[in-house]
């Protein structure tokens, strides 16, 4: 297997919760809408079907008011171990990229690894740039994000 190192990005994270529960948080919009995106981001879902071949069509809203169209097609779903998905901006986006999420039980909880492979190095660089811009819009509004989180925390 060749290693497309310049076309991929790997993000790894340990979550202090059982694997089944972490996996469950991906299976329903009710859950996804609670955590998708950094602080201050929200989503509005147009269509959602969690099954192999099913799609999630939604709009992501940045804290600065920018809207980002998003499209995800679930390629493979193997509870509670892995999810393969195709991620673009609209249905059948030719620049969509593939991400493989794996969930592993560890002593400290669950390790979630997201390995994303872009079709070309240029698309990888574009994604980095796009997400840097998204994050840039967020940085200045970090305080707002924290405020929103406080509100959501105190309303429980």
């Amino acid at each position: 297997m060749n290693e497309p190192i310049d076309r991929q990005i790997v993000v790894s994270h340990v979550i202090d919760a059982p694997r089944e529960l972490v996996f469950e948080a991906f299976t329903d919009v009710r859950h996804l809408s609670q955590w998708w995106g950094p602080d201050g981001f929200t989503t509005t879902t147009r269509a959602f079907e969690f099954c192999a071949g099913g799609e999630w069509v939604f709009m992501m809203h940045g804290p600065d008011g920018t809207h980002y169209p998003e499209w995800i097609r679930w390629q493979e779903i193997s509870p509670p171990e892995r999810i393969a998905l195709l991620h673009g901006a609209f249905p059948d986006d030719p620049d969509a990229f593939e991400s493989l999420l794996t969930f592993e039980q560890e002593s400290g909880g669950t390790r979630v690894v997201m390995r994303t492979v872009f079709p070309t190095k240029e698309l990888r660089d574009e994604a980095v740039e796009k997400y840097r811009a998204i994050e840039g819009g967020r940085q200045t509004l970090r305080a707002l994000g924290e405020y929103l989180r406080d509100i959501s925390g105190s309303s429980r």
Partner: protein, 115 residues
């Protein structure tokens, strides 16, 4: 004062304000080292020295054109910096932080009633 190894990576290279200014001035395309030096009020050897550092960490490329040395941006060298500043990787890392908080709140609500 201890000196960082300026040539070791892009982070060190762009820590120097004049090198950042050189990168800014190359945004619109290829420039001759003499022009850059003149605009920035430095000598040509000073500009060349900074540009060499930028070249060694992959932030600029150089070519000879007659008697001139022309520099242009090589944005691939900036990738590690962009990612560190917050690109795709940070976006997801922070989403996963929120995922962790959310899952723990789920876990607590499912465990209600336990001591």
């Amino acid at each position: 004062m201890a000196r960082a190894a300026t040539t070791s990576d892009a982070f060190n290279a762009i820590a120097e304000p004049q090198r950042r200014e050189l990168l800014d001035r190359l945004r619109d395309g290829e420039r001759a080292v003499g022009e850059l030096a003149l605009e920035m009020g430095m000598t040509q050897p000073q500009a060349s020295k900074h540009l060499r550092v930028l070249r060694e960490v992959g932030l600029v490329r150089v070519r000879e054109a007659g008697r001139q040395r022309l520099y242009e941006l090589d944005s691939s060298g900036l990738l590690p910096v962009q990612e560190w500043l917050g690109g795709f990787e940070r976006f997801w890392s922070e989403s996963f932080d929120r995922l962790g908080e959310y899952v723990q709140s789920l876990s607590r609500s499912q465990g209600e009633g336990d001591p």
